[in-house]
Every structure is written in structure tokens, then in C-alpha cells.
Amino acid sequence: MLTIATARPGPYAFDIATTALLVIDMQRDFLEPGGFGESLGNDVGQLRCTIAPLAALLADARAIGLSIIHTREGHLPDLSDCPPAKLRRGAPSRRIGDPGPNGRILIRGEYGHDIVDELRPLPGEPVIDKPGKGAFYATDLDALLAERGIRSLLVAGVTTEVCVHTTVREANDRGYECLVLADCVGSYFPEFQRVGLDMVAAQGGIFGWVADSAQVRAALPATPVLQPSS
């Protein structure tokens, strides 16, 4: 077992054989200048600061053979998996399925829907396409984790209070031990970044633990201990 002694609200112990790094929705539509997120008036710089530390963590995690899973939020081209309440929300002409700067907004297969180049999944790393904020609803994530024997999740991605939080809450109810990586999750709103992380660790860690990626990287072994998953 490895331990992150300085995690909030207390030490976080994990076994790398039963741990996965879960990278949530690091998609161009949310992170790229000129993309959907920015077109809604958001400052993508608030999210882009997560890319460098996450890229470094990904490299270390790959080097030791840790399980890595990516997610993308998006919908089928005919919008058959998009609830009407979700579709009709938001500014007219900037809604899901509308043409955007990087293709149709949040539609599977479009350029903007894919993951940013810096964090591109490697062959063999599962990419979970999800229609909601949570990565467990209407996906095979739970089955995939069970099949690999995963019990602990190191969670990164965007945005902290929406898709990261919803997924961590789902994972927590399913008994997974979640460590949210404070510098690898991002929000367009600094207030929500702060309270989002505080809420995870509140009440004795009601949804999990919080630490920085540097603390995780320092705890990981320097040499490969796991075979890449088949």
C-alpha cells in the first residue's frame, strides 16, 4: 500500500494494483480557446492550468502501468440520448448539437468533442463516452472497474463542481475510494473550485480525499511494478 500522508482530511492509502487514474472530460470544447466553453463567456485559463500537472502525472502513471481511464461528455449525432431539459437549456444557437467553432457542440465524433492533444489517450486506455455529468450513469464504467478489480480512483479533470463532483459522488456511493487531485481539476469559477474541494473532504471526507498531484507522484514507485493491462 502507498500512502498520501498529507491528504485532506487524513492519510489516503491505495494499492496501485487496484487503483485507476480517472481523467474526466478534458475535451477541446471545454478547454480550448475559441471553443464552446469560451464562447459561453468562460475563462478557459481557469481550466488550462490543469493540463501541465495532469500531463506529468499521466506520464508517471503510464510508466508504472497504472490503469488509466478517460471520459468524454457528449451526445449521439441525432441527439437521441440528450434529455430535452438539457438540450433546451443554455443560450440559443449555442446549444448542444449546434454548429460551434470546433464542429457540432458536444457531439460524438466532432473535433471539439475529443480530448486535448496534450492528454490524448494511448491505445489500450479506455475512453468512456457519457451522456450526463456523472461517468457512471448510462455507461459501462462500473463494470469496467469491477472487471479490473479497481477499488480506488485518483480523479482529475473538469469541471470540479459539475462533472468531477457528480462522478465522485456516484463513485463514493458505489464504495470506491476517491482521491481528488486539487491541481488537476479545474473550474471556470474560483469560488466553486475552492468549495468543491472543501465539500469532498468535509465531515471526515464524506465523498473522499483531496491532495495535489505532486504528493501522488512522490508516492509512486520509480520503476514499473505492474504489467500493462491486457
Binding site: G10, L40, P83, P84, A85, K86, R88, R89, G90, A91, P131, G132, K133, G134, Y137, A138, E161, V162, H165, T166, R169, E170, N172, D173, R174, G175, E177, Y188, F189, E191, F192, V195, D198, M199, A202, Q203, G204, G205, I206, F207
Partner: protein
């Protein structure tokens, strides 16, 4: 039967489709249990101010009467575990022990968060009437490992009004699950509460951002005023 809406709400007049048919709208009363908000429950016994978790009770009592008079579906939820704790994840048990309230151990009102114990029961002010649906859930979210989705879809429910405790934990988790499932959600600021007022406020604020990422926020008065019989 009647209709609700448009209700003045933040960030848009609720619901998105203009008017909610009361036959297709359910009132959710989440975890109004003695252990969380009742005198003699474990939150009370641990020295927390249950005034904060009880703050939403009077408005919920009034709204519950309103919903019952309209013939709306009312669904109550209770967080709790089987007596043998077979549905209690190990980390949830460990964490509860760390803060001195281990689930399954003897508490001030019976075994803490165990189904059938006095502290697990819903407080009398908002107790379910015979025939009302009560969903027992092992997690924070009311959809995970329960029949809630099936019950709502069977009744043709498309819109949800949320009350209960605590705002940032069980109410928010349930609202997020409901939103992903396509339900149009309205959370009531005066019918919810948290052990930390700042978390209550932040949780409500989060709902209102990005065009209503999980739905809308309003008050019970606005819902009642926007009802047509």
C-alpha cells in the same frame, strides 16, 4: 390535478417547458430522519446545531400539505443500511467511525443509520402518510441501488421538486442523478439545509450557474403561488 409554473426561479423561470403538470411532477422529501435533524438523533447528540438541518422543516410541512391537496406524487427517502450491514461500503463505515458515529453502532436513538431503528425514522412533522412512496437508499444519491427511477417512470413523472437534507450532500447528489436522467429539477432554498450554512449557500449557487446546469433554485412560496388547480 393542476399545474405549476412558470415559477420565478434562478436562473430561469421553471420549468424549461413552461408549465409542469402536477400529474407528472413529484415532491421529493429527502432524508428528513431523526438521526440527522431530530432531537435525540446522532447529529444532535454530537453537539451540532440541529437548528441548521431543521431550518427547512416548517416550509416543507406547508409544501407537503399543498402537494397532497393537489394529489401530487410524494416520495420520501431514508438513508440507512441493512441490520447486518451487508450494503455498507467499507470506506463509509470507516469514515463514520472516524468522526465518532460509526454506522451500525449504538447511538442515542438506536443503531446509527440502521433500517428499522428509531433514529432512522422520518421525523413526525413530515412523516409519510399511508400509501406514500418511501425509498430506502444505501448511498447519498436516491437513484443508486434503489427503485426510485422505476417508480417515477412508472408514474410518468418528468419534473421533480426537491426538499430535504443536507443540501450539499444527499439533496445535491440526488439532484445530479435526476438531472442526468432527464428529470427537470427544482430545488427549494427554504426547504433544505446543511450542517454548514456556507455549504448550503454554495450548493444552491452551483445549481444556478451555466444556465442552470442541474436545474433551478426557488422557494416554496413561489411554487405555491405559481400553482393553478
Amino acid at each position: 390535478m393542476g399545474s405549476i409554473g412558470p415559477v420565478p426561479a434562478n436562473p430561469y423561470p421553471w420549468p424549461y417547458d413552461g408549465v409542469a403538470d402536477t400529474a407528472r411532477t413529484a415532491l421529493l422529501c429527502i432524508d428528513w430522519q431523526t438521526d440527522f435533524c431530530g432531537p435525540g438523533g446522532y447529529v444532535d447528540a454530537m453537539g451540532y446545531d440541529i437548528g441548521l438541518t431543521r431550518a427547512g422543516l416548517p416550509a416543507t410541512v406547508r409544501l407537503l400539505e399543498h402537494a397532497r391537496a393537489l394529489g401530487m406524487l410524494v416520495v420520501h427517502t431514508r438513508e440507512g443500511h441493512e441490520p447486518e450491514l451487508s450494503d455498507l461500503p467499507a470506506n463509509k463505515r470507516w469514515r463514520s467511525a472516524r468522526i465518532g458515529a460509526e454506522i451500525g453502532s449504538a447511538g442515542p436513538a438506536g443503531r446509527i443509520l440502521v433500517r428499522g431503528e428509531p433514529g432512522w425514522e422520518i421525523v413526525p412533522e413530515v412523516a409519510p402518510l399511508p400509501g406514500e412512496v418511501v425509498v430506502d437508499k444505501p448511498g447519498k444519491g436516491a437513484f443508486y441501488a434503489t427503485n426510485l427511477d422505476l417508480v417515477l417512470r412508472t408514474r410518468g413523472i418528468t419534473h421533480l421538486i426537491l426538499t430535504g437534507i443536507t443540501t450539499d450532500v444527499c439533496v445535491h447528489t440526488t439532484m445530479r442523478e435526476a438531472n442526468d436522467r432527464g428529470y427537470e429539477c427544482l430545488i427549494l432554498a427554504d426547504c433544505t439545509g446543511a450542517t454548514d450554512k456556507a455549504n448550503h449557500d454554495a450548493a444552491l449557487h452551483m445549481v444556478t450557474m451555466q444556465g442552470g446546469v442541474f436545474g433551478c433554485v426557488t422557494t416554496s412560496d413561489d411554487v405555491i403561488a405559481a400553482t393553478a388547480k
